[in-house]
Symmetry: C2
């Protein structure tokens, strides 16, 4: 079941790549399995450094529900959240976090800041990683390869 939600997040990631954004997608799902919001990266389009997929998905779900916390809701995201996004996941009280690929460069869940496990953490979701990892990594790899090729052509 959770792979089908991740498939939607992966489609969002592909859509981001098509718009020239770093391909990451996210979905917020209720305890009953209803999709509340889905989003992908839009930092360039929106000129907004906070417009990561999971940040937009959480803001959108909160807006739809008219509440600033998402107790009992789950988040699916194709890439390990950064410190900023782990922070909003904690603030929103997300119940379960499912993510795909690890992010050695900016991940803040199981590496880097380890936002959920340091002594000051107020809320830690259950964390399940590696779901759709290969597909998420393939989408990212293809995107950055194409970006490098374009840069070479421009030079």
């Amino acid at each position: 079941m959770f792979k089908s939600y991740m498939d939607i997040a992966l489609k969002e990631a592909k859509a981001a790549a098509d718009r020239g954004e770093v391909p990451v997608g996210a979905v917020v799902v209720s305890g009953k399995g209803e999709i509340i919001s889905q989003a992908s990266n839009r930092t360039r389009e929106l000129s907004d450094p906070s417009a990561h997929a999971e940040m937009i998905a959480i803001r959108s779900a909160c807006s739809v529900l008219g509440q600033e916390r998402l107790n009992g809701y789950d988040l699916y995201v194709t890439l390990e959240p950064c410190a900023m996004c782990a922070g909003v996941i904690s603030a929103a009280r997300i119940k379960r976090l499912y993510y795909g690929a690890s992010d050695d460069k900016s991940g803040g869940v199981e590496q880097g800041c380890c936002v959920f496990t340091h002594s000051q953490s107020h809320h830690a979701p259950e964390v399940y990683s590696g779901i759709g990892e290969n597909e998420a990594n393939d989408i990212l790899k293809t995107f950055f390869e194409q970006l490098r090729n374009k840069s070479l052509v421009v030079q």
Copy 2:
């Protein structure tokens, strides 16, 4: 000079308290000293767990300038930023961070996650703390005292 910008952030914090929001204020200032944006906490009003003062101020400045990075811009905030806000400060490439009170509970700059100083950090602003600290603490203390008193009356 920087105290006058912090005074504006403190006024924003007081305005947040008047609206029943946790009183934190923030200001983004250009290298030439021009105020680009100012904001205060609106998490309750907007049903948005990310709507901290510094998050709103940075998003607003980026929107005004039409760019997703604020290289050369400074941020003034009355309270030590949390991990989420430290994350967006880093992503936005803020040059200097001036903050007032330390936040033992949720601060992510000089305690907790230490977002700017861990090995994965891509950009760390210069950090100056303790500016307007007493006033920032007084505003927070008064707010939470009044909140406790109201809770007692309700009970």
